[in-house]
Symmetry: C2
Subunit: 341 residues, 2 copies
């Protein structure tokens, strides 16, 4: 955090304002607030993906106005991916853009949401349909915040960690596929590896015209399941949990269509079953999920496009799959649940 | 419009969708729609500045989703400044940004709103508090649409035309200051001159860190009066009308603080009185307007900053004025009304 203190000491923001949710306000703000001299106040929103909407964005903008934040204000987004996504969106559009920094406090946000310059909110239950690319002035990643996380959040975030192995680094995957996230001591090196991989990919394709799409492995099914669950379940799937399921279904599609070996397919589904225990998850029919898949931003000409694997570490993108193939992929994921019982 | 047809014929958008208001839908869409092959549909919103809000933006985003517009869709903003401002904002944030083009149909939008890459919406009655800089793929300016305008709209737009003379071209001001907008035949050359001036200024300072601020001459008072009027008047001031009043008040401040001659002050107030007949306008107390001025995006450290004139064609910006000075400027504007009776 010293680097942040140094950076702030060289700047002269007219206001420094924290955006937090009720969780990060309680557990994370006390860890950091003494390091930030003279911050003006905080905007607190309810935690959870269901807050990532236009109504909350309006609340944030209005509170910025009430706090008389001008164009020289700084917003510090302190929280998980919901906070960095909506906070980045609100900062980048408040008075046509003020400075913001991201301090991710969940594993998911540290390895994914807080880096890569994507901001956004959901429209209804369609994920990230409104947003823009906007670069934070700083990103501070400190594993100290992982100690504040409930176990479920930590495990869910591990899905994105595994994804980096699957899409670009077989060794990283092999080292982690049998891990229990709760037992990991050295988070710093794991997070650093993920951040470097993501930054390299984003640098090569900032606006997701091509190669950046590989970061969406597991996310075509994942986003749709997450959206469905947000709308229908009393205790909705977390993003990482939905992505974990998506990675199994999309591994099957990879086996069917792009040459992933049966051995690697089995390795992926076994690892994910063991870590995520997805038998606990509700299983909607595919056609209830399919309408959400049609809203995926990667789609083109109204066809659902996937990132698939030729083998672990070798992704391909923009692969069209038929409804029938998706049905079988979804059946496969369901069959892996039965197998673990 | 042939240039637009040519451009479109070289592109392959997945959907072409018009954004219009009830006025431009009736009067302007018929003029142009035959030139746009295979457009998919239109989104119609109510006309007027009161539509430029988050609720309307949500409607636009949802209709884009319903029309299954993907990242390769094109939004054509056909209308006045309200349409180009909100349409640009919605396009630039839909799925993190789709292509859009502006076809301004009012004088105001042709010389100002549709060019310069500003997009935005109002929050409550605070103008343009949410938005971003986003570049349209094309801007088509055709004076044919001026024939569809009510006289009041045409006259109001003329305030922005006069502004260009005041801030950067004495000859242009001198040629136009005694004009009656209703009698002008050659709009093309006037609009071209304004567009070139604006483009030059925007090019020198795209994000309004410095010189671009001169475009806001008349707008510190103007925006505040417009906001006040939107909230309080049954028939609110148009943007251009509010800016016309603002240019008189800010000419007085220029006379007091930055050396504008008494002769030029008189010339400005007489011209604007004659053209805009502002005696018809309601006159709120300054303290009712002042709170809106405090939200101006040009402000810094909670002080109201103005663009003032050293003489016609020579602006200076970031000039702090005291509440007492603003009061006297406002009194001066009111005195010019009395003088014309």
């Amino acid at each position: 955090m010293n680097s942040l203190k140094d950076w702030l000491s060289r700047k002269s923001f007219s206001r420094i304002i924290f955006l937090v949710d009720d969780n990060s306000s309680t557990h994370c703000l006390p860890i950091i607030k003494n390091d930030i001299q003279n911050y003006y106040g905080q905007i607190i929103i309810p935690h959870g993906e269901n807050s990532k909407n236009l109504k909350t964005a309006e609340t944030i903008w209005k509170q910025l106005l009430e706090m008389e934040a001008d164009r020289n204000a700084l917003l510090i987004n302190l929280g998980g991916g919901m906070i960095t996504d909506i906070g980045g969106f609100c900062a980048a559009t408040y008075k046509r853009g003020i400075s913001f920094i991201n301090i991710p406090t969940t594993l998911l946000a540290m390895v994914d949401a807080a880096i890569g310059n994507k901001t956004g909110i959901n429209i209804g239950h369609y994920k990230n349909q409104v947003g823009l690319f906007a670069k934070p002035d700083q990103i501070l990643i400190d594993p100290i915040f992982l100690k504040t996380l409930p176990e479920r959040e930590l495990v869910a975030g591990f899905a994105e960690v595994l994804k980096y192995g699957l899409i670009s680094n077989y060794e990283f995957w092999k080292d982690l596929k049998d891990s229990n996230p709760k037992d990991i001591a050295d988070w710093q090196s794991i997070i650093d590896t993920c951040v470097i991989m993501k930054k390299d990919i984003v640098k090569a394709d900032p606006k997701e015209k091509g190669i950046r799409k590989i970061l969406n492995y597991g996310h075509t099914f994942g986003h749709a399941l997450e959206s469905y669950s947000l709308e229908n379940d009393a205790k909705p799937l977390l993003h990482g949990e939905a992505v974990a399921i998506g990675m199994v279904a999309e591994a099957w599609l990879s086996y069917e269509k792009t040459g992933l070996s049966a051995h690697e397919l089995d390795e992926i589904s076994t690892s994910i079953q063991t870590i995520f225990k997805i038998e606990k998850v509700k299983r909607p029919d595919l056609d209830m999920v399919y309408e959400y898949m049609l809203k995926d931003k990667k789609n083109k000409d109204n066809e659902v496009r996937f990132v698939l694997l030729k083998k672990v570490g070798e992704p391909v993108y923009d692969i069209k799959c038929s409804y029938e193939e998706m049905t079988r992929a979804y059946d496969y994921y369901q069959s892996t649940i039965v197998n673990t019982k």
